[in-house]
């Protein structure tokens, strides 16, 4: 019975569509997390940055639409606004944890709380009589990428070629990030700053600047993911709509051993758990399937499938010149 349903789920293209969509949503904040942690700044605030991005994307798109801009321009501005909003949250995290040497976990929690509070508060202020944001019409959402005839391939078409534009952008960013981190000069510097900031500093690397850039880019990526979620997948903004996705991304960062490709594989696995949850509905497993990402990550942490170790200086503020 179980395997029958599982098999039916695995050969359904809907499952794979949902899997890839979920993975695409997760990979952006996960990459942000990888970059930030590699540079030595613990980031558990992807959730909040994503939520801010989702909020900004919907609000800006609606506002631009209301002042009479063409639809596609409103959407593009919405996405850009989301990226900037996520980056702004990350800037706060960077400022507090790099300059003011705050505990990065507390700062991350504070970012998550303020994102939740501020977005809900602003929804109440900005919408008429505080009744929430209306659902966006189709022409104000992010479209699927026009692959033309490829989209109508049986099975593969739906899963691979009918995804949102941001999905393919995320793929590009994924390979870009892996290349950047492990094949370029600047990637070497980022990793050096995360492993041994003093040595990097001695070698002439600007530790603080590099960490700033990494933290901010994690915010930019999470903001983009927020736009993907709000403008691409849901078409609406709801309070706390990220609903833990930022934390699954964090799990993916750790499960993927702090590499871009590893995180992507983790996202795929977690995405499959999500994709299968539709197919396995008949089994009455309900929300138990949703625990899979976290269970996997715990197992990885415990070291049953190769222990993950964070960068050596992850989470330690750097203070140049103190001895």
């Amino acid at each position: 019975m179980f395997f029958q349903v599982l098999f039916k789920g695995l050969i359904s293209s809907n499952t794979w569509y949902a899997t890839l969509q979920f993975a695409g949503l997760l990979i952006l904040p996960a990459l942000g997390g990888v970059i930030s942690e590699r540079s030595g700044v613990v980031n558990i605030a992807m959730e909040g940055m994503m939520l801010t991005g989702a909020f900004a994307s919907v609000m800006i798109t609606l506002a631009m639409h209301n002042i009479g801009l063409p639809d596609f321009l409103s959407v593009i501005l919405g996405v850009l606004g989301a990226i900037l909003a996520g980056g702004l949250m990350a800037l706060i995290h960077a400022l507090v944890s790099i300059n003011f040497k705050a505990n990065q976990i507390i700062s991350g929690i504070a970012i998550n709380i303020i994102a939740l509070g501020l977005t809900s508060y602003l929804v109440f202020i900005l919408t008429p009589s505080g009744q929430g944001v209306p659902s966006l019409p189709g022409n104000l959402r992010l479209p699927t990428f026009p692959w033309g005839p490829l989209a109508s391939i049986p099975f593969l078409g739906l899963a691979l070629f009918q995804q949102n534009v941001i999905f393919y952008l995320a793929l590009l960013i994924l390979f870009g990030a892996q290349f950047l981190l492990f094949r370029t000069n600047i990637g070497l510097r980022i990793r050096a700053v995360g492993e041994h900031p003093k040595a990097a500093d001695t070698a002439g690397v600007n530790v603080r600047l590099l960490r700033y850039m990494c933290v901010i880019s994690s915010g930019l990526l999470s903001g983009l993911a927020g736009a993907y979620l709000a403008l691409g997948v849901s078409g609406i903004f709801l309070d706390n709509m990220t609903n833990g996705r930022g934390f699954i991304a964090l799990a993916a960062v750790i499960f993927g051993k702090y590499t871009a490709i590893g995180a992507a594989i983790a996202c795929l696995i977690f995405g499959l758990g999500n994709g299968l949850s539709f197919a396995l509905q008949d089994l009455n497993l309900g929300s138990l399937l949703n625990t899979l990402p976290y269970v996997f990550t715990l197992i990885a942490l415990v070291g049953l499938v190769g222990r993950t170790t964070p960068p050596a200086a992850d989470g330690i503020p750097y203070e140049p010149g103190s001895e």
């Binding site: 003011f100 508060y121 625990t291």
Partner: protein, 430 residues
Amino acid sequence: MAVPLKQPETKEQRSAASLLAQWTRKVGAALGGPILAVLFALIAGAIVILITWPDKTVDPFRNIYNAYTTLFTGSFGSPTKISNTLVVVTPLIFTSLSVAIAFRAGLFNIGAAGQLAVGAMTADVIGLTYTSWPSWLLVPTMLLASILAGAVWGGIVGFLKAWRGAHEVVTTIMLNWIAFYVTDYLISSPRFTAPLGVGETNALPDNATLPPMVNYINQFFGTQLNPFLYRVDISILFALIAIVIYWFITSRTTFGYEIRVIGQNPKAAHYAGIPIKRNTFLVMAIAGAFSGLAGAVSLMGQEITLSLTGFSQSTTGFDAIAVALLGRTTAIGVLISSLFFGGLRSGTTDMQAIAHIDPNLVLIIEALVLFFIAAEFLPVLRRAMPGWVQWSRKPTLVPTASVTPGTDVTENGNGDAQNRVEISDLDKEE
């Protein structure tokens, strides 16, 4: 023979003014940081109101005034309001103690929300299963079971930290979501879910609930207070007892001393022969027990039912961190700051009804308090302050050792990662 360098001062030798000055310095040292953090957060919250101008019928400054006055009168303005505030404060005290005791050992318990969910669910399952049991048996069983469930959920974290080196921030976040989804699963399972109410468990029977405080007050003083107006239940007494227990554990027992040493300097603790692994496990189990009990009392005293996604949507775990940090992880500090945050929470009803300001403002204020506590703005400010507003130079009770995966011992505090110590590796060192 050792000659004392300074004559010991006796009380008689000191003038009243000098004693007063000493007292002010002491109080200022303990309260300066947290009070400034709250003050800054309230000012920043006022700026948010000023910019957003939520109630356009009056001017923005009036908005700020209305917001803060309704927050206060709405939480402490009348006996009923105070009672409602205490309802919010009760579980908050438990979860904050949970976070605080973990902080003492240099551990970040972000898992209070998950431990609470597990505790509440366990109590609910027992309460709905053994409905025929008499109250004197059922209620203690539920409370103990929730303590045990929370302790197990927290103990897992401690175990993984001590023996496998898994960082507690990550494991608690993972276990939180596992707890949320497992409880959601149980809540929506046909065995517990209410036949008509979608996504809600059946209400607990009367013999599985905690009675309101006023029942006893009425009995004792012969008053006629209405339990529907004064909703606070007897678990507020449990919370006060828990605070005393926390104080006793942390400042009067060897265990409390040992976890503090572990929190401040794991390496020193190791060489002093303190059993780090056992204590790490124990402290997380105790932390979990506090949170588990929080879940049970709020279910049995107030909620009566559990609702789907209720745990994952609530901000309890975050609130607890804010309270524990604002209270500097001391027993009395936790009490005061949970009254503060609980007051903010319960005051929002009036703030929304009278001043027309969204309750989420409180979340913003809470986050700002966290920022101002966590960030080292204070050294900058300290230089600009007059002498009597000094604050503690004692090492902070949130040790920097808890920041990262593995417990770091940065001897010179400059980010040199070579001194990192994983407590799970300490035994192998020699």
